[in-house]
Amino acid sequence: MDSLTQLIDGFGTALTPTHLLLAAVGVLLGTFIGVLPGIGPAMAVALLLPVTYGLDPTAAFIMFAGIYYGGMFGGSTTSILLNTPGESAAVVTAIEGNKMAKSGRGSQALAAAAIGHFAGAMIGTVGIVVLAPFIAAHAVDIGAPDYFAIMILAFIGVTSVLGASRIRGFASLLIGLSIGLIGLDEMTGQSRLTFGSLELADGIDVVIVAVGLFAVGESLWIASRLRHGNDGPIPVGRPWLGRDDLKRTWKPWLRGPVIGFPFGAIPAGGAEIPTFLSYVAEKKLSKHRDEFGSGAIEGVAGPESAASASASGTLVTMLTLGLPTTATAAVMLAAFQQYGIQPGPLLFEREADLVWGLIASLFVGTVLLLVLNLPLAPVWAKLLKIPRPYLYAGILFFASVGAYAVSGQVVDLIVLFVIGVLGFAMRRYGLPILPAVIGVILGPAAEQQMRRALQISDGSLTGLVNTTFSVVVYAIVVVILVWPLVRRFTRSRQPVG
């Protein structure tokens, strides 16, 4: 096993004292930011990006692995104790978890979530070790038309599968694609949408777009509708599980990743569907079905484990194909690009040390998460009491630091504000944020692949569909697009009765 020796080398990189310390700091910072109400994992990762700017790539990504898992775990703490899912993947956890906390079983809910995360991340990371080199090896052979097809699938996936309104999803995607056009055309060097401005010629940094849409947009939106007089968070002790709870949770912990990982690994996945499926499955299989809806521990353990494994799955597509399918993975990709590293099939050859160091740190980060966060949970719970003015003032403060740190230019702060206002408007009128971020990141890459494919075919459009792979992917795209119409048609023909 070649990847096994490389993984062992990776552990050699990850387990040096400096890197271990960085991973621990990353886990703590990630949890700290992720626990804060209103901050989901994507925003946590985006806000913490500048912390890693001064480090070398390997050290930065080891810290990043910690931030990533810490942020995700922090989010589930918030949804259990405050009933505020920081992201859509944690929605299901809030259903049962918050009920458990209200009936005095908060410690058990937190423990079920923490160990669920641990199990999901462990199994998911093993999945990465097995699957990623395999996909990378095969993806080396796939060409421009195939890439373009996968990217179209990702675009259609994030706009159609998620969210309530497809037209609003497409509007968001097109806004993102337009922002991605700003700057010099990579193939001819001609400027597009720069309006003669030198600052815009480099394009708008993806980090600024992400921080603007997530952090600044969110703060402005909340400022416009700030709720006064919240219910306080539910106080909680040290997480623990009794023997009865363990009996009920160990199977959901192991079943979650089976559902979560594959969904994360396909380029139109996300964590909403697998967490929901896991919830439904646990409800069906549970001996305590009557407890569902009033605080069943299986309903926390399964979905949390599924969410965590799904996050690992998204890393497979992100690392091997350069395709992010969740907001958090999108920000991770932006972090790679900051260092001039382009994830894709060649990453495993060119940056083997870095990739395997990162994968090893995912294991290390997972263990650290469990070791550090079980005892610290009561401390994190206190963070939920932070006064809202300080919370959102702090978010704007660190958003500004992050945007300024990208290149040290004041104009970036103005751009950040404009994008923040856009994020505000999108929230108010129900345009989802994720398609825009995916559009900014994948738009330019998709254009390159499309033009390359047409260059090879000498301008003939058949150049986009001349491989079996691309035809299959387009077929999936058509199914996703047509499915709701078919369903509406069959429904109207069969009267409910």
Binding site: G38, P50, V51, Y53, G54, T84, A164, S165, I167, R168, F170, A171, L174, I175, L177, S178, M187, T188, R192, L193, V216, L220, W221, I222, A223, S224, R225, L226, R227, N230, P387, R388, P389, Y390, Y392, A393, G394, L396, F397, F398, S400, V401, Y404, A405, V410, L413, I414, F417, G420, V421, F424, A425, R428, Y429, G430, M450, R451, L454, Q455, G459
Partner: protein, 169 residues
């Protein structure tokens, strides 16, 4: 594709603003694309114009479709959240004050340095959001701003402008 939240007549119309925004953006992208000179330096059959033209046209199409959806009674579902009270009217005063605090940082950072402009941002934002502790707020703002400066500039190797305040040290 239509979801209704109890909304007023006023919001009905204001959502058309999003359609207008998309349409304006579409025209902007199209006009810019048409003005790209393509007579030189083109590699391959597809030049730098093609994608902007497609994006621009799609923006116009989506603007029209969204307008149709809105006029038929479709509503974008405003994003909820623990700190969001959807039944309350928009509080524009808070939004404007918050924006002012944010832009003050952008205006001041080059002149007085991050430690001061960052503190202004934090205090201003906390004030905008309703905090009125006139001793504690500025102290927290100054503390955060200085600690962040030292942490980023001196420990993490991410340069921030110190301004006149830091030259004293």
């Amino acid at each position: 594709m239509t979801e209704t939240t109890g909304t007023t007549e006023k919001k009905d119309r204001s959502e058309l603003g999003i359609c207008a925004l998309l349409a304006v953006l579409g025209v902007l992208v199209l006009v810019d694309a048409i003005n790209i000179p393509t007579d030189f330096a083109q590699r391959g059959p597809v030049g730098p114009k093609a994608v902007p033209v497609v994006v621009g046209v799609l923006l116009l199409v989506v603007a029209v479709l969204l307008a149709r959806d809105v006029l038929r009674g479709g509503r974008g579902e405003a994003e909820g959240g623990e700190d969001v009270d959807l039944s309350a009217p928009s509080d524009w005063r808070t939004v404007l004050l918050l924006s002012a605090a944010f832009l003050a940082n952008a205006a001041l950072i080059g002149v007085v340095g991050f430690p001061i402009s960052g503190a202004v941002l934090f205090w201003g934002a906390a004030y905008a959001l309703g905090s009125r502790a006139f001793v504690r707020d500025p102290l927290i703002a100054a503390g955060m701003s200085i600690v962040t400066f030292v942490l980023f500039n001196n420990l993490l190797g991410v340069p921030l402008p110190g301004g006149p305040l830091m030259e004293v040290f």
